[in-house]
């Protein structure tokens, strides 16, 4: 596993985006076994 070190500002940005999460797309849903996952 690669190491990812975020600055405080980056951590704050990440946290803000996480709160906005609405749906999780499945970029390969045109074929996937569980197309609605």
């Amino acid at each position: 596993m690669l190491t990812v070190i975020l600055t405080k500002e980056e951590q704050a940005k990440k946290a803000k985006i996480s709160k906005r999460r609405v749906n999780c797309g499945n970029g390969n849903r045109r074929y996937s076994v569980t197309a609605l996952s």
């Binding site: 990812v4 990440k14 906005r20 999460r21 999780c24 970029g27 996937s32 569980t34 197309a35 609605l36």
Partner: protein
């Protein structure tokens, strides 16, 4: 009375046809008829999506049958618009629109089998800032006009994660965050380490990485790439992938199978299972096939759909996160044998592939605002469907290509399943495509389908011996 044993959902379902003998077929030449034993026939009607077993003595060619028999051997007035997938998949597609942005067709690899990069006329120029603004504004306007639509954004190319695309990629990420859209990125993965921090920061918006590893061997590059000096080894990519899904980013790794790696599939699945990939809810493994839809790459190490299905049947992969992305004309029959068959491609029975079906709203938009439908045409200007704009988007009608598009397909024994085959192949060399489809379908029937159906019949007869005696008496 005629007894029909219909092959569906992995079993034989009995129908007893008692109707008055008033149906006389005009023709039976569109049917695939195969003796299974001295007493039984398997009849497959691709146009009505029926495959069933009946007793030979009940079959009278173009004779007279109970009225209900028409729904098994008849010929429809128009192509079936039915799907053998759960209804909610169709509903989900109807309310979803996917905009796939190709920032440029430039790529840092030159994979030998790549349909796009082998095109000498490929325009590799990057999308201008103005055009990117126009694309994003148009998507916004589309969403305002269709507030109930779920919109997905995808990045495609060329290679979208080139270093010179960084600012545009971040701009698109920010756009997605502002609009609550998730994003999928089709990438060769070489630059994932460069983008890793960004991907982690933005992971909350829902990112899916679609990438390819064709071999886990240390001595091979991932995509049979010609030497561009770029490290495209699977081992490098695996480290990146492992990191991504542990940061809650969905990763689909697909492998393109040909003669050189078909015997590695089992080891690949084992590797992903033993090393914490399969089993992680964010990781998916897709099995695809190297193909040459336009007969142009000269690649001569391909395998057919049936050869690959045979191999996968031997391996009996049960992991729910392994899926297939290559089966075409034989897909419907594969699903009749196994309702859990691992490919859920949104198309009607009488379409060859999702790109020729009127179900998925997917638009590939390139740097010059040309819009493409089929993945194999992206970058070939002759196949541009329209110039991207709200008005053109609203007026565009999704294709519904079927056997009716070709006179020679309308009475072919596999016409309802093959549906004219790949449009790209048909355009370049219809006869070559047609004979390859027929040959592979025949191979599928002989080596997979009929042997399985025969086993199902034997089990059925063994379980229903007493009933069989009653029927006879």
């Amino acid at each position: 009375m005629i007894r029909i044993l219909e092959i569906a959902n992995g079993k034989l379902n009995q129908h007893l046809l008692n109707g008055a003998p008033e149906y006389k077929p005009e023709s039976t030449s569109h049917l695939l008829i195969q003796p299974l034993s001295e007493d039984y026939l398997c009849i497959t009607n691709s146009y009505l999506n029926k495959s069933f077993i009946m007793e030979r003595e009940d079959w009278d060619e173009e004779g007279v049958y109970p009225a209900e028999f028409e729904q098994f051997i008849g010929y429809p007035s128009s192509p079936l618009q039915v799907i053998d997938l759960p209804d909610n998949l169709i509903e989900e597609s109807a309310k979803t629109t996917t905009f796939v942005i190709a920032l440029s067709y430039d790529c840092n690899l030159r994979c030998k089998y790549c349909y796009q990069q082998c095109d000498p006329h490929l325009d590799r120029r990057k999308m201008s800032a103005e055009n990117l603004t126009f694309v994003l504004d148009t998507i916004t306007a589309y969403q305002e006009k269709h507030p109930d639509k779920n919109i997905y954004i995808e990045l495609f190319g060329g290679e979208p994660l080139l270093k010179e695309n960084h600012d545009d990629v971040i701009r698109i990420f920010d756009y997605c965050v502002d609009h609550d859209y998730s994003i999928g990125i089709t990438t060769n993965g070489v630059n994932i380490p460069y983008y890793l921090k960004d991907l982690v920061i933005y992971s909350g918006m829902g990112i899916t990485i679609n990438t390819t590893i064709d071999s886990l061997s240390e001595n091979e590059k991932t995509r049979f790439s010609s030497d561009t000096g770029v490290d495209s080894k699977g081992s490098s990519l695996l480290k990146s992938i492992y990191t991504l899904f542990n940061y809650d980013i969905t990763v689909h790794v697909e492998t393109n199978i040909d003669q050189h790696n078909i015997d590695q599939i089992g080891d690949m699945v084992k590797f992903y299972q033993e090393n914490g990939f399969l089993g992680n809810p964010n990781f998916w493994f897709g099995i695809a096939r190297v193909d040459d839809r336009r007969f142009e790459t000269g690649y001569d190490k391909m395998v057919t759909d049936t050869q690959l299905v045979q191999k996968l049947n031997e391996l009996n992969i049960t992991d729910p996160h392994v899926y297939y992305a290559f089966v075409k004309s034989i897909l419907t029959l594969c699903r009749k044998l196994d309702p859990g068959f691992k490919q859920m491609e949104r198309k009607y029975i009488s379409n060859y592939c999702w790109a020729s079906a009127p179900i998925d709203n997917v638009y590939y938009i390139d740097s010059a605002l040309d819009v493409f439908r089929c993945t194999f045409t992206v970058g070939r200007k002759d196949y541009s469907q329209f110039k991207f704009s709200l008005e053109n988007l609203e007026n565009y009608k999704l294709p519904n290509r079927t056997y009716m598009d070709y006179e020679q397909c309308r009475n072919c024994k596999i016409g309802g399943f093959c549906s004219g085959g790949c449009a790209q192949s048909a355009e370049i060399n219809f006869d070559r495509m047609c004979s390859a489809e027929k040959e592979d379908f025949r191979n599928f029937l002989d080596t997979i389908y009929y042997p399985r159906v025969k086993t199902m019949l034997e089990s059925y007869l063994a379980e229903n011996t007493s009933e069989q005696k009653e029927l006879v008496s």
